[in-house]
Amino acid sequence: MDVITSDNKPIIQVKELVKKFGSFTAVDHISFEVNKGEIFGFLGANGAGKTTAIRMLCGLLEPTSGALKVAGFDGYHQREAIKRNIGYMSQKFSLYEDLTVYENFRLYAGIYGIPRKERIKKTDELLKKLNLEESRNKLVAGLPLGWKQKLAFSLALFHQPAVVFLDEPSGGVDPLTRRTFWDLIYEVAHQGITIFVTTHYMDEAEYCNRVAIMSEGKIVALDTPLALKEQYHADSMDGVFLKIARNKE
């Protein structure tokens, strides 16, 4: 499953990417690159086009025009190859609620073709790490939301993808759970896995290596949080975002 990419070569390359739904342009000529091992944040208000963009990157949507490469594969003709090399955590919890924690692991490991021995070993490790050992044979439906999200995150990583896409991963959970969730994200990034995360929480943007701010389908700013704060003379990402919003008016 490992993808051979040299460290200086970007793992996601997007050029002039467009997605139209009828006459509505959800994503309007966006271009950016994401390097291996980076935590790349995609910021924007609801309806700015973040989810549409992430779905194209995951091979769930066909782009209208523009160039798109993920892990070296083309977003038009090699979508299934992209899928083999990425993990995805949807905005809406989408694991099987009527299966147990373990059964969900078994199913997805099976789909990705992970051998049985490896699956059993990894499942045990992960459940231990997430403190979910006791819930191993419980139905997912009965778990608290924070746990479900941790579970979905670990499952997105189970097959050791090169890139993980997280679509508003910490929506609806308390700040403490969010904090521990980001600890998990850092840990994964240290292992060299690229993280692509969308959010509308500005404090989360501070945790990213670089952020792109989207508004009405366009990328209006892209840099490290530090550089953006300097550029907009703000002391937080919240301030940056507000200034960008005001400039537009």
Binding site: E62, E80, S90, G110
Partner: protein, 372 residues
């Protein structure tokens, strides 16, 4: 291939974890077999006949007793005016009213002929025709008898007569249940095949779980087969269960090879499930799937020859039946069960069903999109 096994494991766990499933699997076939087979009968029994004998002669009384002796009629005698007779039919108290007018016997003796009035409630046309034909037969044979008596020939035998001795094959007792039971079995497997698998797929769309699957490198045909197999097995289980009920309750004779039956039923299920999954591939909600599947099922069943013979439909409708899966299976299953037809007696059906199934399966796989 291993992916399919994991998918099947998942589907089976989910199906049996669903508390509504077990009643569907075991109670539905029982109710269908016990209720439908008895209820959906075309046999005419106990036609309510009212005899208005205004003559009260020996001839009319004897004819009335003849009618009464038939198990076909449930006879009531009454003295009514013509207006009251109308009311009787209008209210539905009687299906047939036979009136012997005043002077019936006298006419017969004097003029060599007499009239009897027969009024039949013909809302159900075929039942009316049958009752009338039966009445005519009874009256006709009575006619011969009294003629013979009146002419004074002790043993009247017509000099030349073609005698017809029918021999009913495959269902010698003309037991209607033998005809209906296999058909009801078809409805049973159709409901399971058409609805359970297609609702299951579209439910994943509604729950959003399909998105997580779509972002994996899962093959489309793996996914579709995974949705099919559990319900194919459940449907075959139900077929077995239904056959047992038919055998034990109706004493349905089983003349054919059971394997032939399972081969054809599996092919049929492959076809209708593909059809159902095609519908759910193009739908977004369970409601849409239900409506479309219902539409097809009703049309298929009514045109299938389950209740009415296909041969009496207009030619264009008969041609339309060539794409009706239910029509195929009902004919096949009746042939296998009652005639004992084998696989090679129905190679044409075998080929048609296979090709049709493969086409629909390809359509379902093609139309199922891993993109949103």
């Amino acid at each position: 291939m291993r992916t399919i096994l994991y998918l099947l494991q998942k589907e089976f766990i989910q199906v049996f974890r669903n508390k509504a499933m077990l009643p569907i699997i075991f109670i539905m076939p029982l109710v269908q077999m016990l209720v439908l087979v008895f209820a959906a009968t075309m046999e005419l029994k106990k036609v309510d006949i009212t005899v208005v004998d205004l003559d009260l002669s020996e001839t009319s009384t004897r004819l009335t007793s003849k009618l009464e002796a038939s198990s076909f009629f449930h006879l009531t005698r009454a003295q009514l005016s013509p207006a009251e007779t109308d009311q009787l039919l209008l209210k539905g108290t009687a299906d047939v009213v036979v009136t012997f007018p005043h002077g019936f016997e006298q006419d017969l003796k004097r003029n060599d002929e007499a009239s009897v009035q027969i009024l039949v409630d013909a809302i159900n046309g075929s039942a009316a025709e049958l009752s009338n034909a039966y009445l005519q037969t009874v009256i006709g044979s009575y006619n011969m008898k009294i003629r013979a008596e009146m002419m004074g020939v002790p043993k009247f035998t017509p000099p030349q007569q073609v005698s017809v001795i029918p021999s009913y094959w495959y269902n010698p007792e003309l037991n209607f249940k033998y005809y209906m039971a296999p058909g009801v079995l078809v409805i049973l497997v159709t409901i399971i095949g058409l609805f359970l698998s297609s609702l299951n797929l579209v439910r994943e769309k509604e729950m959003g779980t399909i998105e997580q699957l779509n972002v994996t490198p899962i093959k489309k045909y793996h996914f579709i087969i995974g949705k099919m197999m559990p319900f194919l097995i459940i449907a075959l289980l139900d077929l077995t269960f239904g056959l047992l009920v038919a055998k034990l309750v109706f004493g349905l004779p089983f003349r054919g090879n059971i394997l032939t039956l399972y081969i054809f039923t599996s092919l049929y299920l492959f076809l209708v499930m593909s059809l159902g999954l095609f519908v759910s591939a193009i739908s977004d909600t369970q409601q849409q799937v239900l409506f479309v599947s219902f539409f097809f099922m009703i049309v298929f069943i009514i045109m299938s020859g389950l209740f009415t013979p296909v041969e009496s439909m207009p030619v264009w409708a008969q041609n339309l039946d060539k794409i009706n899966p239910v029509y195929y299976l009902i004919r096949i299953i009746r042939n296998v069960v009652l005639k004992g037809s084998g696989l090679f007696d129905m190679t044409r059906e075998l080929i048609s069903l296979s090709l049709y199934g493969l086409t629909m399966f390809s359509l379902a796989v093609w139309r199922y999109r891993k993109t949103v």
